[in-house]
């Protein structure tokens, strides 16, 4: 009896948690706010929050102020639960998310079945947009863009800079073995083969590892010239440190996002070790700002709001994606799902017009076909954009 009472009470409590107010429109912010992915989940959400603040300051969307309802997608089952909660209890008009590809795939399924638009601003796996969903849009560049950019960078910049033909470089790919590393490495291999690169080894490893010395020895003994690593923070630090300690100095190390773009990584390994290391990632902050209008004011707002420097480019890219979407929703005829979808589908922002540099236009599978990554290099303790040339803030350097 008591139990049944409790059940009813909790069900009621859950039902009554719905906030309702006038002249407000609620959107869901579905990110991993706790658990292993919390750091970058939070960082991503900040970009969305800044975009929402900016819209609200300018009068909201369609005259209504935007309220963000947070959902914590700590695991896949939870992502589904939170998506359901946002849709049915909070009555959100759309969901923004989600940093993690696995959470995105799980939660967007719910949104699709419920007919609520889902805007992915940061997850990179191909599978997110390979499902031909009607209500799912992705603004950010993907694993495919990353693999492609890295290979282009090797062919066009690194090889000439080292004074070698691209095919003569021995390339070793190492990657953490979750979906992120695996999919980026897959694209690196594919584009690398197309470009005629000589990939001598591909080695996955678990991101939680505490020792990579065996892998370093393996790369060393194969004489690898260019190491491509796709990694999180801990393993980026570990590899850079252990490589330098083993006296292994490849001609170039190119990181794929994750730990390579983060200042704590540089602090952890020291400037002399990370100097010259290349990185492909979402647009970061040291970039030719002619190509990224709005970047400086974003950084300014971020500093004021959170009292620190942005910790990675995730916030910027979420901001850019969210802002483009919110502006489109503002211009839509109403807030019904199909009206939102129609407005978003019509977005047409050319390259060089957003704070991240890339334009927005949705193509196949509702993927932003203008999205692209950028190539960066650690120079004198900061991460400077060096590729593509139109966005470059400095020239790529090579140690001789």
């Amino acid at each position: 009896m008591k139990l049944a009472g409790l059940m009813t009470t909790s069900a009621l409590a859950l039902t009554m948690m719905t906030p309702q107010a006038f002249a407000e429109v609620t959107f869901g912010a579905l990110f991993p706010f706790s658990g292993q992915l919390a750091l970058l989940g939070e960082e991503s959400a900040r970009g969305l929050e800044i975009a929402v603040d900016e819209m609200n300051a300018a009068g909201g969307v369609q005259g209504e102020q935007i309220v963000l309802e947070r959902g914590d997608a700590v695991d896949n089952n939870q992502a589904i639960g939170e998506a359901r909660r946002l849709i049915s209890l909070s009555g959100v008009k759309a969901i923004f998310g989600s940093y993690s590809s696995a959470r995105s795939i799980a939660a967007s399924q719910v949104a699709e079945l419920a007919g609520i638009p889902f805007f992915e601003l940061g997850a990179v796996a191909d599978e997110v947009t390979s499902r031909d969903f009607k209500y799912l849009f992705r603004t950010n560049p993907t694993a495919d863009h990353m693999g492609k950019l890295i290979v282009e960078m090797i062919v066009e910049k690194v090889a000439p800079g080292l004074g070698k033909a691209p095919g003569d470089l021995k390339i070793g790919i190492i990657h953490e073995d979750s979906s992120y590393g695996t999919s980026v490495a897959g694209h690196q291999e594919r584009y690398g083969k197309e470009a005629g690169l000589n990939i001598v080894t591909t080695m996955p490893y678990p991101a939680a590892t505490v020792d990579m010395s065996s892998m370093v020895l393996d790369l060393q003994s194969r004489g690898v010239d260019v190491v491509l690593q796709t990694s999180y923070q801990n393993d980026s630090v570990l590899f850079l440190q252990q490589a330098s300690e083993a006296g292994y100095k490849p001609s170039a190390i190119i990181g794929g996002g994750g730990g390579y773009s983060m200042l704590p990584t540089a602090e952890a390994v020291g400037n002399d070790v990370i100097e010259g290391v290349l990185d492909a990632d979402f647009t970061q902050y040291a970039v030719n700002t002619d190509f990224t209008p709005g970047l400086e004011s974003f950084v300014e707002t971020y500093r004021t709001k959170y009292g620190m420097e942005p910790r990675s480019g995730h916030s910027l890219n979420n901001y850019v994606g969210a802002l483009a979407i919110l502006k489109a929703i503002d211009a839509a005829e109403g807030l019904k799902p199909d009206q939102i979808v129609a407005a978003v589908s019509a977005i047409d922002i050319p390259q060089g017009q957003t704070a991240a540099g890339y334009g927005v236009q949705f193509g196949e599978g509702n993927q932003n076909q203008r999205a692209s990554m950028m190539g960066m290099q650690w120079q004198d303790g900061t991460l400077v954009t060096v590729y593509p040339p139109e966005a470059a803030a400095a020239e790529m350097r090579f140690a001789q």
């Binding site: 706790s34 292993q36 919390a38 750091l39 939070e42 190492i174 073995d177 080695m203 996955p204 490893y205 678990p206 939680a208 590892t209 505490v210 020792d211 990579m212 010395s213 065996s214 892998m215 020895l217 393996d218 003994s221 923070q233 801990n234 630090v237 570990l238 440190q241 300690e245 083993a246 006296g247 704590p264 602090e267 952890a268 910790r311």
Partner: protein, 294 residues
């Protein structure tokens, strides 16, 4: 050949790391007969403390051991006194296991709450400098860890065999009831042993922190490896833990090179399972029954 030597050197250094982390675990294991699933989180707590003191006061990380080891001693003693001791008479092992699992969950999330999800870097203070010995390169800090592990093993052995308290601890470990009859305060010995075991982790934390960045989840990886080491070495055997750590370090290093980095975990756990099934008393284990029930 040079590669092989380097692999062996890496393996031994990794073994030193595993050893210094596992010794406290095997001590608690052997005496209190409790598997401390929160052991990795003790390490994490110690590493954070090392980081705070080093960064805050600008001290050499090794100096912090003077604060970290006592802090962990207290943490361990309190865990025993307020968490494990009330459960020692519990119906079965389930509750003890869940108690330490709960403690582990709480500590991980507490760290997340306090320190956020960022990694925290203890200044290396020159400990990351490579040392060239013949054809192999190893880190200064790794050498110190290895030496510390050896000294810790010797020190604990002497403590357990030469001192009154040490002998009392051994008596309790061998036969709780008999020790009680001989007038030994068993509960006090348990609290003391848990504290000493945790203090060993404190020592490990101060030594490891300059070499590895600390995050809230760092304990998880180490603790599983430490379990493997302890079971391989034999229940409660300190020398066994050391030898076990060396073996696991070598296997880890070799498997990473010859088999593949993604499968090395499977190899290590495979070895663990084979040992558990074929020789559950481990390499140096006494004929202790693993059964707590019958």
């Amino acid at each position: 050949m040079n590669i092989f030597l380097q692999l062996v050197a890496n393996g031994l250094m990794l073994g030193g790391l595993f050893a210094i982390i596992s010794i406290g675990l095997t001590l608690i294991f052997g005496i209190v007969k409790v598997v401390n699933f929160a052991h990795g989180e003790f390490l994490m707590a110690g590493m954070y403390l090392t980081w705070i003191i080093t960064v805050g006061l600008g001290l050499h990380p090794y100096v912090t051991v003077l604060a970290v080891a006592p802090f962990l001693f207290v943490l361990g003693a309190m865990t025993q006194r307020f968490l494990i001791q009330p459960l020692l008479l519990a119906r079965d092992d389930h509750v003890q296991i869940f108690a330490t699992v709960g403690l582990s969950t709480a500590l991980i999330n507490l760290a997340l709450l306090i320190f956020g999800a960022d990694i925290a870097n203890t200044p290396a203070s020159g400990l990351r400098a490579p040392v060239q010995i013949g054809p192999v390169r190893i880190l200064e800090g790794q050498v110190y860890i290895f030496i510390a592990a050896v000294l810790l093993v010797i020190g604990l052995q002497l403590f357990l065999s030469r001192t009154q308290t040490g002998r009392a601890i051994r008596a309790v470990a061998q036969n709780r009831a008999a020790a009680q009859l001989m007038g030994i305060n068993v509960d006090r010995i348990y609290v003391l042993s848990f504290g000493i075991g945790a203090a060993c982790v404190g020592l490990a934390a101060s030594l490891v922190a300059p070499l590895y960045p600390v995050s809230s989840t760092i304990g998880t990886y180490f603790v599983l490896t430490a379990f493997v080491v302890v079971v391989l070495g034999g229940l409660g055997s300190i020398v066994g833990a050391f030898v076990g750590a060396m073996i696991i370090g070598l296997i880890d290093s070799m498997a990473g090179f010859y088999i593949g980095s993604d499968l090395r975990e499977a190899v290590v756990f495979g070895v663990f399972l084979v040992i558990l099934i074929l020789k559950p008393s481990g390499l140096f284990g006494t004929r202790v029954s693993l059964s707590h029930i019958s």
